[in-house]
């Protein structure tokens, strides 16, 4: 596809841009068959199949597969949900577990050969996830404290001088209803977007150099080398972003559950 693009613009190097994230439908003109959409469905299938197989036996002495699945599950359950939410954490574990595995697998798609596209670099998916958190933590807060008390405590933070409300109330409202979910979504999106762009720059750049004169051909391996190093770096970022997203989700739920913010 880039070949077409390049030939169309006269052979010069075309830097990767946001246009590289707008992929055409794989099958015909059906907009539901673009690569990121297919990848998201693939991730759902992969995660479901893997964890169903891993957890099917639920043996006391786990098999290797069960152990692998359990490791991920107990990481989310104990290190994220239990440590952050504390009491009554168990009912949020399925949600947080889904969140973590879903983001992780879709992120890692970015460096898996042949797939090589992080679905989370399409902003729509982080948005959807942020909306679920938005719904969950407000719902939890309202259920726990009652709508009036919950919103009152958000708007008028207890233990603050009355005059300070002029400043704090708008900020708090902005934080709880706009900033939190938005930053959550944008952080994930931007990391995946930038990471993929970075890889594109070095790998397409290396490819372009390879087609140049002999001097440029010699530089090309360095570009590829950096591309490979960055791939490892990306792997780290992808895991980290999945972790951060889930951690913040757990923190927001914990905040909504707490009596005072």
């Amino acid at each position: 596809m880039r070949e077409l693009l390049r030939s169309g613009t006269g052979g010069g190097f075309v830097p990767p841009s946001s246009a590289d994230f707008e992929l055409p439908p794989v099958f015909g003109h059906n907009i539901y068959t673009t690569k990121p959409i297919l990848l998201v469905f693939l991730s759902v299938i992969l995660i479901s199949v893997f964890f169903i197989l891993a957890s099917r036996k639920a043996a006391i002495v786990p098999s290797k597969l069960q152990f692998a699945g359990e490791s991920v599950y107990s990481f989310v359950r104990n290190d994220l949900a239990k440590d952050v939410i504390g009491h009554d954490f168990l009912r949020f574990v399925p949600y947080l577990f889904t969140l973590f595995t879903f983001i992780l697998v879709n992120n890692i798609f970015g460096i898996i050969p042949l797939l090589q596209f992080p679905s989370m670099s399409r902003v729509s998916f982080p948005y959807v996830l942020a909306i679920t958190i938005y719904l969950v933590f407000h719902y939890v807060g309202i259920r726990k404290q009652g709508a009036i008390k919950y919103f009152k405590e958000i708007m008028f933070m207890p233990g603050v001088p009355k005059a300070a409300y002029i400043l704090i109330t708008p900020l708090e409202i902005l934080t709880f209803f706009v900033v939190r979910p938005l930053t959550l979504a944008l952080r994930l999106f931007a990391n995946m977007f930038a990471g993929h762009l970075l890889l594109l720059v070095f790998i397409l750049g290396g490819d372009h150099l390879l087609q140049g004169v002999i001097g440029l051909k010699l530089i090309s391996p360095f570009a590829f080398g950096i591309g490979i190093v960055l791939t490892f770096f990306e792997f780290m970022v992808q895991c980290l972003q999945a972790y951060i997203f889930t951690l913040l989700a757990a923190l927001y739920i914990a905040g909504a559950l707490a009596d005072e913010h």
């Binding site: 994230f21 055409p24 469905f41 479901s48 639920a58 902003v123 729509s124 679920t132």
Partner: protein, 176 residues
């Protein structure tokens, strides 16, 4: 990208979501959530609970076994002590009984000896009495016989006298 040229690409804002992707994202996430909640997390929780129970059960069983062993040990020690005390008592009892038996036997022997002695003495006394009685009767008879003989002969004659005595003695010997 066949349908995109550079001018169009410039206009793309990556922050604007696509409806199709929003829909798919929501469906996919919900689907995954429902699947994991229904099939995966309960099974893992079950495994965790069972494991905890198994470990706790194991510890409890071990504790119970230890307790039982301790109790058995105590019981054995107690029984041993009891047996030792019992043996001691038995030994002492036996000793006492032995002493009593010896004492008893000795008393009995003494009594027997005394009885035998007494019987013997009585018998001797009786025999002596009998001898005395018969002797007395015999001596009387002899005396009377002798006297009558003496009276029958002359008492002056010494030779006769001695003859009489000799004859008497001879008779005496013959009568025996």
């Amino acid at each position: 990208m066949q349908f995109l040229n550079m001018a169009e690409a410039e206009k793309i804002n990556p922050l604007i979501p696509h409806t199709a992707e929003l829909v798919v994202g929501a469906i996919a996430f919900t689907l995954l959530f429902l699947t994991l909640r229904k099939f995966v997390t309960p099974m893992f929780e079950k495994a965790f609970t069972e494991r905890t129970n198994a470990i706790q059960g194991g510890i409890e069983r071990a504790e119970k076994a230890q307790l039982e062993a301790q109790r058995a040990l105590n019981q054995y020690t107690e029984q041993l002590a009891k047996a030792q005390t019992e043996a001691q008592t038995l030994r002492e009892e036996a000793r006492a009984q032995g002493a009593a038996i010896i004492e008893d036997l000795r008393t009995k022997a003494q009594e027997e000896a005394a009885r035998i002695t007494a019987t013997a003495q009585a018998s001797i006394e009786a025999q002596r009495q009998q001898a005395v009685t018969s002797l007395r009767a015999e001596v009387g008879a002899l005396a009377v016989e002798l006297a009558s003989k003496i009276v029958g002969e002359s008492l002056d004659d010494a030779a006769r006298q001695s003859r009489v005595v000799d004859r008497f003695l001879e008779d005496l010997e013959k009568s025996k």
